[in-house]
Amino acid sequence: MDSARSSPDPRYLAGTDQVLIKLLIAGPFAVGKTTLIRAISEIAPLHTEEVMTQAGALVDHLAGVKDKTTTTVAIDFGRLTLPNNLVLYLFGTPGQRRFRLLWEDIAQGAVGALVMVDTRRLEESFEVMDLIEEAGLRYAVAVNPFPEAPTYDADTLRDHLDLHPGTPLVLCDARSRGQSLDALIALVEHVIAHMHMEPA
């Protein structure tokens, strides 16, 4: 008989000793977060439906889930298994201030964030960038070059986004696995550079 072990269900982790690393893929609606997660994830992206009261509290009793006065926000995520028992989790985060508690819950324990921007509406990424900076998270910025979007040189973009000189700024077509991996590599290199500077 075939044992369950010979054809493991890909939904499950390879073991109970995996180290799970959280990265945020942040940015406004339709900037390409889900597209990037899909390009990288080894499983079809999953999502949770988070339920909040009008005051922004996370609903924690089952009756509250069906309450009509609550707001539901879908948060999608994907997974990438690496050697050495490491598993990357990528969470798509809209990062709106009015959903502060949800933001804190998602950002808890994150190693860093990739902020995606669309040059037609740079200002829509400001709110989540502020939240990321307030949380003390390291981040890199990925410009998703939509066909109709204007192109600016890096200095102009850095200026508009008010980026620290050390913050990576990369171009990334979110549909491309290679470019999306490059963007994550830039982020992880940046996180590591700061760990060297500020030993734990």
Binding site: T48, D60, L86
Partner: protein, 119 residues
């Protein structure tokens, strides 16, 4: 088969918290790994608690994956998990050392792993 015997202490444990406000849920993360602590699922659990245990019978899952498959908000699954852990039916392991986060060595391995996917 399990009778009500095995679940004798579980029902009160769940009712005692009313499914809410258990302190241990504050230590649960989206990426807390869940795995089974019981071979058979006792009777007397609410359908949502049973759903969690059934889902993780074949293997370990992060809490957020369980929430996605069960179509429940993460905040609700944290409550269910906290109660199941206190009832001794579920193991919950934090993703990484919570206080420090991943260390430099771990992040170097992440970087190596990502670079290897490019070549």
């Amino acid at each position: 088969m399990t009778g009500g015997r095995h679940s004798r202490r579980l029902v009160p444990a769940y009712l005692a918290t009313g499914g809410r406000a258990h302190p241990s849920r504050n230590h649960l993360d989206r990426l807390t790994t869940l795995h089974a602590a019981c071979e058979e699922i006792p009777v007397g659990l609410c359908p949502e608690q049973r759903g969690v245990l059934e889902l993780i019978q074949p293997g370990a899952l992060p809490l957020v994956d369980a929430a996605a498959y069960l179509r429940l908000p993460v905040s609700i699954v944290k409550v269910l998990v906290a109660d199941l852990v206190s009832a001794g039916l579920l193991h919950a392991r934090p993703p990484i050392p919570q206080a420090t986060g991943p260390d430099l060595e771990t992040m170097e391995k992440v970087l190596d792993g990502l670079r290897a996917l490019k070549s």
